[in-house]
Amino acid sequence: MSAPVDVAPPGIELVGRRPILGDAPEILFRLAPGDRSLVSAGEAIVAGTTIAERLRDAAVVGLGAAATPDDARAGDRWTTSDRSAARVIGRSGARLRGGGDAEGGELLYEHDGRWAIAAGEHPEPVDCPVTGVVRDVRPGVGIRVRAQGRALYGVEALGDPASGRLSLGTDRGDQRHGRLRPTSLDVGLAGTILVIGSRVDAEALTRARAMGVRGVIVSGLAGKERRDYLASESRQRAALHRLPPFGVLVLDGAVRRPIAGPIAAVLETLSGLTVAITIDPPAIVFDHPELAIQPAAEGHVRVRAGEHAGAEGRWAGPAGVRRFAGGTDLEAGWVVLDGEAPIPIPIADLERFG
């Protein structure tokens, strides 16, 4: 990383700013009709709390005309021990499910004076990986939780929200440029969230999940690997015995590039601490107020794309319109890389952090 600069260099405002850290976000846990919320708005929860039950095989079940009270509303829970009140109008074989003597589901819609409910078997717990406050619960839509702490945002997250101890690994050298190979994974990494560096493939992700790793943070995830992983994830969801939640956070995009220095510095600071990966929005959330994280030096820029992609240096001022490879004329800025003489780089290829 380049040396700190006290005064903002001229023209640095032209470089788009990418915030590194923000307040912890409001996290959405999506619910489908039939899923059951176990929390209510305003409730304070700690990390690991089971906040909902998600139905794996929900189906529509029609109720008899007298099976519901007059003030029934869509989204209400409905329970009864009277099986004869229900008749299946959806997928054949769907059964009502409940605890004790009651069986039930969620009121879906009313038609011709009869209600249909969403009900089914095989509920699966939904755990909240962060501490926070439940802001909103909407049956069939989702639960919103205001997380406590701070967040480092990525561009995309796949899988499920998960938490674990952040691990930079020990044998991969510079974690900014690292690549995760399936063979380098073992059960000793179970319960961790791994910072991979620049590249990971679907096979390594699948193996990591099988080994009990709780999540992976990577700079770039290629489209093919993304698609293969999502297919594997879909098969896993369909399996009878699910593995613990596993999340993948992509920091930059789809092509290979090292993790940005200022972001890597944050991850190094968090190494060994418990963090959570959230899917909506895609972020790492952590609640360690004691941690002091230094902002990137004013004037520090990173080249996001092009010939010098991944390089980081110091902004030295606007360079005006320049012609670049391919014959395109682009607004450029002078950037000092590795202490060499400044070179012009398209401003649109640069980003700064703050």
């Binding site: 959806g90 670049f324 395109t328 607004e331």
Partner: protein, 548 residues
Amino acid sequence: MTADPRAFLAVDVGGATSSVAIIGRIAHRWRLVGSLAMPASTPVDAIAVELIRRVAASDPGLAVAIGLTDGGRPVDAETMAAELPRLLGRSAPRRALLALAVSARALGPIADAARKTGWRTSTAQLDGTDPLKLTNRILDPSVDVLLVGAGDPPGADERRRLSELAGIVAGAVARRPDLTVLLAGAMADHLGRLEASSGVRPANRPGELLLAPAATTGDPPGAPLRELLDEVRGGADDPRRAAGRITSALADVLDRRVEVIEIGFDGGLRATASPGIGGEESQAIVSIAADAALLPPDPDDATVDRVLAWMTTPIDRHRLRDRLRELRLWPWSGIAGDGARLRLAAARAAMAILVDATPEQSALPTPDVVVVSGGAFAVAPGPAIALAVADVLRRPGATSIAYDHARVLGALGVIPDASERRQALIDLVDDVLTPLGTVVIPAGIRAGTSAGRLTVHAETGSSETELVPGALEVVDLPPGDVATAEFSFRDTVRLGSRGRRFAVDVSGGLGGLLVDLRDVPLRLPDRLDRRRELLDAWQESLWLTRDR
């Protein structure tokens, strides 16, 4: 600054691009003094400051003339940028609409109306769909607006299940009070049921429950529904919403049939207008298609195929998919090298979607002027843009192509007063439209060694060119020059009318005069490598700034 400003900023804030132009009053006319476009991540104020600095540095006299001074002292760009009046056009954010009906027959017209008014549209029908899946679709938090439609009166195929559909919608609306619901046609009869199910007074409900006309009413059919959908999409200062006004004004000012094609980050636009006749105001036809965005949020296989079909560099599908995902995430990054060509290939694919989505506008007479706009073209050389338009908009005739390089038209469109807008356009039209050239496309050229001869009579002299079937002939004609192109074809062709001999007035541009003797519509080899070679050969002559 005086009370009567001599300069203002025209600002266009798009999904991926922010553009600032300084418009100054010079010799009793508004003139474009300078402009600067940057990624949307760059603050508009920073762009304005840099632009003012450049104007002041490059021509201090001009800066003084348009009032960019601080009491005679050297200009303080930051203060000036904050003080200058701004004309702001801001693209409305991308919004998603779910069109819902009982049957596919009823769904078609309402989905079509939504697709032409800028909504990212998905569809669902009750017939053949599990009510649970349907409810899930409605409850998806990414859906902003629900359009539920039925015929008025409802058709026999939908009458029986309308009540069930209303029940499902009412059940979903009760859970999502934030959802705006439009009930079109006979669905309006179920408003009371939805109001009752929402459980809150309409005034306290964040989303709205609105009645909409049926998709088949109005002249042309669907126009009133489209108007309402456009209003609901919102964006009072959205340049796309103002496109009809500025296109009509442009047609009147130029006294030509005008078509505006805009490809942006979140949608594409096609607006067509002819000059008003007999003192009547010009009327524009406007279609806004979210599907014609430079790229969809998550480029799928179909998108990869569409862009790959226009690529001139060899690239495998996986790598192209990654490049497109990156282009969507960071639309201004990686332009150097072959990035500009990739963007233009994506722009061609988007234009093709736009043209496919607007057949009624394609059926209109060939426009005299096509104005190209939008961030998709921001970094491409002018002649390459002209060829991209000729590749996709294949209508026989002669068309001048111009480029809204400073993105000022959108901002001018949001001027509410028609006469002010027209006056500003009269002053600025020559500055804001960069002439890219004239494209002449004759249809009906037969294969052979020669299609005929072209003689161009320009002020600087005459030139003759042999016309080869299937080729692109480029005649150098600089911006500002006008000429007469005399065509003598071997066989009868269509060029406005049918005939063998034509004399066409043409105007110059960065790409000169482009005589396009390729097929109408364009036919390309199925094999990708041969297709690529052919596209590259055509573009080679027009990518004039290509670095080798």
